[in-house]
């Protein structure tokens, strides 16, 4: 598996795959095949993909540790950047399709609607992570500080979930947000479990590996 992940084609392939939803929505918008309310389809669809890429990004470390496929690590940055990319597209859909790029209306709308505020906060929090994703930034910050900064992704995904739950509030219609919440709970729970188990056990396990 590690060999497969290290093939030169792996990264470009993932890049193209991850661009797939964007291409699908873009062609759908241009060809008008997104149903009776294409703006809504775009807004909801791109939002879903932000959460999916955040989950995939957070899956890399547990999967790597549990399977030993350490080469997965080289794909994590791209997954994270795609989460940011879909977040930007999602925000653009809101600002353009919903608000017609009316800056005054957007600024009035964001604080009035708490779920929009939460989503915007999540996107803004992703900005420094995306900005420090390249190798030179890691070097400049130092691995420790860089890692501390990038733990903000946990807050991003929790804010994203809150955004989704809040959007669905009033209706007892939480099936989808619950599913994402369960996945995120597993991904973050695994990290907590690792963090809090006895250091001795961690050392033995590390030696065994």
């Amino acid at each position: 598996m590690n060999k497969l992940l290290l093939l030169p084609a792996t990264k470009p392939l993932l890049f193209a795959l991850a661009l797939g939803p964007f291409a699908w929505y873009l062609s759908g918008a241009l060809a008008d095949t997104l149903g009776p309310n294409p703006a809504e389809a775009l807004l909801r669809g791109t939002g879903d993909w932000v959460l999916r890429f955040l989950c995939l990004t957070l899956l890399v470390t547990p999967l790597r540790t549990l399977t030993g496929w350490h080469a997965l690590a080289r794909l994590r940055r791209m997954l994270g950047l795609y989460a940011f990319f879909y977040g930007v597209v999602h925000f653009l859909c809101f600002a353009w399709l919903d608000m017609g790029f009316d800056v005054a209306a957007i600024l009035k709308d964001i604080p009035k609607r708490p779920f929009v505020l939460v989503g915007t906060a999540a996107l803004l929090l992703m900005l420094p992570l995306a900005a420090t994703s390249f190798n030179r930034a890691i070097k400049a910050l130092g691995a420790k500080r860089w890692q501390a900064l990038h733990r903000a992704v946990y807050a991003v995904v929790l804010l994203g979930l809150l955004h989704f739950f809040w959007m669905r509030s009033a209706k007892n219609h939480f099936g989808e947000p619950m599913l994402y919440a369960a996945i995120v709970a597993l991904l973050l729970g695994w990290r907590l479990w690792r963090h809090f188990r006895s250091p001795a056990a961690a050392v033995t396990q590390a030696r065994a590996m």
């Binding site: 399709l97 809040w166 219609h173």
Partner: protein, 330 residues
């Protein structure tokens, strides 16, 4: 021309005036022409204008109607394509996605169907749907439909004023509100398995709102009977309120003294009030109501259009709410 002078006013000479008998005869001739061979082409033209204004999609049984003469009942706007009207529906009894009802509603049985009228009326009873269909002349009305979610359509509905039914059942002096109950049958409605709302779906109107000539007891759209996903076989359409106020597939109409609690009020009273009049100035707590997207017309990159007060029916219904604080009674 022989003219007789009479203090500045010119009278025709009696000999110039067409004799009554000749005049009557001419009118008779014209009428015969209109009804007969020479008039048939014109008569057909007139009938087409008076009857089916919107081309039938030929999917369901035809429902004849004449275009309504009620002020405000026929907007000049372009009707939303039938495909969009019948494929993009909020009808949670058949699923929460707006594409669900068109897929799932085929299980709804619209015959036999009875609408029970009860409560504060002198003549309660059970009305068979086929009797209701013949209760009053059918009118075609082209209404704007504004959903609380921020999209809108223009729908050619067929029905008659709800007032026609209300007058016949003779409400008592205690009848201040009308409640509409939608069918809730698990065997026909897969969405009832989810607890997204409390079932059955209930909606309500104040008596004067229910009696307003624009409040339509609706049996069809686009020249045909209602498709199941649009609330067959009978629903209410209240064009100046958000769409969810217009209950679908109605099985019970109850006249009550106290303001009834609606399904959406039970779910979230702070977001969906009893009145729920379309109002661009009173936002939903989670989104603006100032603009809307017209389904099937506004492209994805078009700017949304401004929403009108009372969905553009202010001249007709504004006086119902004179002196009311519409922020408080949202």
């Amino acid at each position: 021309m022989h003219l007789l002078k009479d203090r500045g006013f010119t009278h025709a000479a009696p000999s110039e005036i067409t004799p009554r008998a000749v005049y009557d005869d001419r009118r008779r001739l014209l009428k015969q022409l209109a009804a007969g061979a020479a008039g048939s082409a014109l008569a057909g033209w007139a009938a087409r204008d008076a009857l089916a204004q919107t081309a039938r999609p030929n999917k369901l049984a035809a429902l004849a109607a004449t275009r309504s003469a009620v002020p405000g009942a026929v907007t000049m706007e372009k009707p939303t394509p039938y495909a969009d009207v019948t494929a993009y529906n909020n009808y949670y009894e058949f699923g929460t996605d707006k594409a669900d009802p068109a897929v799932n509603a085929h299980t709804l049985k619209t015959r036999p169907w009875t609408v029970t009228v009860e409560g504060e009326v002198k003549k309660p009873g059970a009305y068979d749907i086929d009797a209701l269909l013949k209760l009053a002349p059918m009118e075609e009305r082209l209404y704007r439909l504004r959903c609380v979610e921020g999209w809108s359509m223009v729908v050619p509905w067929i029905g008659y004023p709800l007032a026609e039914l209300i007058k016949r059942v003779e409400p008592t002096g205690n009848a201040k509100y009308v409640q509409f109950v939608t069918l809730a049958d698990k065997a026909q409605m897969p969405g009832l398995r989810s607890s997204v709302l409390e079932w059955p779906y209930v909606e309500g109107l104040r008596m004067d709102e229910a009696m307003h000539p624009l409040t339509l007891l609706t049996f069809g759209l686009y020249g045909e009977v209602l498709p199941n996903q649009s609330g067959a076989p009978v629903r209410v359409v209240v064009p100046w309120k958000y769409g969810f106020k217009s209950g679908k597939s109605i099985v019970k109409i109850r006249f009550v003294e106290k303001q009834p609690k609606t399904s959406w009020e039970t779910a979230a009273a702070s977001e969906y009030g009893f009145y729920s009049n379309v109002n661009p100035k009173v936002d939903h707590p989670r989104w603006s109501q100032a603009t809307e997207r017209r389904i099937g017309e506004d492209g994805v990159f078009n700017k949304k259009r401004p929403t009108q007060m009372f969905n553009g029916y202010e001249p007709q219904v504004g006086q119902l709410y004179a002196g009311m604080d519409l922020r408080k009674f949202y």
